[in-house]
């Protein structure tokens, strides 16, 4: 039972829609009149370089930033006029490793169980379920600063799912993680969708991640969507059904999927590790 289901327009098969969504910062247009929709239970990927507008788009959809023009609805609720209702039905995992190193894993989850207004009797149970689901039960009472990057990422996903939101936003979920950790995170993301029917919107630079996880992908360039569809369709669109994602990306944007940017993110993630001890 999805306890985050509130009275809303259930005819909406698309769980997320944007219409001409735009965000400007002074003269800079970070997101340019974006129109897209994501269906219930989809895993939807947003692909683009740094500066393509992915983070700004995620910030708008998670109500952290208001749009300059256009609109978007998440779960049937408008992101501007019903922002607090949107917040009740979404989960969010930011790009940097953002668990609190000065608390244990369990304590980190407990804070959010409370902030999401879970009934007191349900909190401990949900926290335990989340820890078990992500394979963190043994490490639950250790300080997060002793966790590996993969463990922190899994903890954060558990945190974001405590209130069983219908929509989950993941910003670069496996950047900077080692291959084993990445596989584990992917397996858990797939399991989330399977078990809870969660709609997942994720941003990524990684070819293998997008191919492994996403049903459909939107390629963003300078704030605009230059291609949108299932990966197979996009590949066919380049004329080569076996094209690599790099080739698909280059075809639609004229740029390379920046290994330079990925390095920067990796080094930021490594700095996070050091901060967490």
């Amino acid at each position: 039972m999805n306890d985050a289901a509130l009275a809303r327009d259930d005819r909406v098969a698309d769980v997320l829609t944007t219409l001409g969504l735009t965000r400007r910062f002074g003269h800079l247009t970070a997101v340019d009149s974006l129109t897209l929709s994501v269906g219930a239970g989809e895993i939807f990927g947003l692909l683009g370089r740094n500066g393509a507008g992915k983070s700004t788009l995620i910030k708008m959809l998670t109500t952290l930033l208001p749009p300059t023009a256009g609109s978007a609805r998440v779960g049937g609720y408008d992101i501007v006029h019903d922002a607090s209702r949107v917040r009740a039905i979404i989960g969010y995992v930011p790009q940097s490793l953002s668990a609190d190193g000065e608390l244990t894993g369990r304590e980190n989850l407990a804070v959010f169980a409370r902030l999401y207004d879970l009934p007191r009797l349900m909190r401990a149970q949900r926290v335990d379920e989340g820890l078990a689901f992500m394979g963190l039960t043994e490490a639950a009472d250790t300080m997060v600063r002793a966790y590996s990057g993969g463990m922190i990422r899994r903890l954060e996903i558990a945190q974001s799912m405590l209130h069983r939101p219908p929509v989950l936003f993941l910003d670069e979920p496996t950047v900077g993680l080692d291959p084993v950790a990445r596989e584990a995170v992917w397996a858990h993301i797939r399991e989330l969708r399977k078990r809870y029917g969660t709609t997942i919107v994720l941003t990524s630079h990684y070819m293998d991640e997008v191919e492994q996880l996403c049903d459909r992908v939107a390629i963003l360039r300078q704030g605009r969507s230059v291609a949108l569809g299932a990966l197979a369709e996009l590949k066919a669109g380049t004329g080569d059904p076996a094209a690599s994602l790099d080739a698909v990306f280059a075809y639609f944007t004229g740029d390379a999927v920046e290994s330079g940017a990925a390095y920067r993110e990796t080094s930021l993630t490594r700095q996070d590790f050091q901060r967490h001890g």
Binding site: R87, P94, S98, L115, Y116, D117
Partner: protein
């Protein structure tokens, strides 16, 4: 849960989290204790000895102790904003802002936890004051009043600190401003000298400085023979009113820190 119960629950969730962090690592509290101890033992004794500051019937050390408690509350609270900048850099603030908790509840939660930290300072100041022979009021009502004032004062200055953090956004700028603000707040108050001996322009500033009302209330409640120059009801009213205003203001500004 009703809306008010939810609101309190959200604020307490944040406060509880901060207190747990403190329990995991209480070392910081010890280092913060050094300052009030030095002021009372060194400054207090020197100036009591010189009889330079006229404090009427009350001995200077007695006069000073509440001022030093207010000072340590101020210092503990005013650098609280740094933690929000730190959390912003880590991405933790983003997650709080994406939760359904009202922004002012997030602010109040932090303010309450600043109050808890400040209470630990109060214990130290009381201990030193006792050792130095200050005549303290140990009645339950007085102690309850002191707890209320300490929490109010810490909440007020930590919320002020959060507002600054939302405006300046970087650690370096914050440290710069923090230093610039604490000294004037402290010296333009009745913490270490009575208002009566101030030049007129300073008196005026002292009267609009919330720290003055904090000190005045503490002086009345901490000391056996303490009396309030401005009236306890006014002290509480000014502190509560200023806190409410700052919390509302901070609630609106909180989202700025992630932009």
């Amino acid at each position: 849960m009703g809306a008010i119960a939810r609101y309190c629950n959200d604020a307490f969730a944040i406060a509880d989290m901060e207190v747990r962090k403190l329990r995991h690592d209480p070392g910081e509290l010890a280092t913060r204790a050094i300052q009030p101890v030095l002021w009372l033992l060194v400054f207090g004794q020197v100036f009591a000895h010189t009889r330079a500051i006229p404090t009427g019937e009350v001995a200077y050390i007695d006069f000073l102790a509440p001022g030093i408690l207010a000072q340590s509350v101020l210092f503990v609270a005013i650098f609280y904003g740094i933690s929000v900048i730190w959390e912003r850099d880590l991405g933790i603030v983003h997650k709080f802002l994406v939760s359904p908790a009202p922004r002012t509840a997030l602010v109040l939660g932090k303010a309450l936890s600043a109050g808890v930290r400040a209470l630990s300072q109060a214990v130290i100041v009381y201990a030193v004051a006792l050792v130095m022979g200050v005549g303290m009021d140990w009645s339950a009502a007085a102690l309850a009043g002191v707890v209320a004032l300490v929490v109010l004062g810490a909440a007020l200055f930590s919320t002020f600190s959060l507002i600054i953090a939302c405006v300046v956004k970087t650690r370096e700028r914050f440290m710069g401003i923090g230093q610039v603000l604490t000294m004037p707040l402290f010296f333009a108050s009745n913490a270490i000298y009575p208002i009566a001996i101030m030049p007129d322009w300073l008196k005026w500033i002292a009267h609009v400085n919330p720290l003055t009302y904090e000190v005045d209330g503490l002086r009345a409640l901490m000391l056996e023979r303490g009396a309030s120059g401005l009236g306890l009801p006014l002290d509480f009213a000014v502190l509560t009113g200023t806190l409410a205003l700052l919390v509302l203001c901070c609630g609106r500004m909180y989202p700025r820190i992630v932009v």
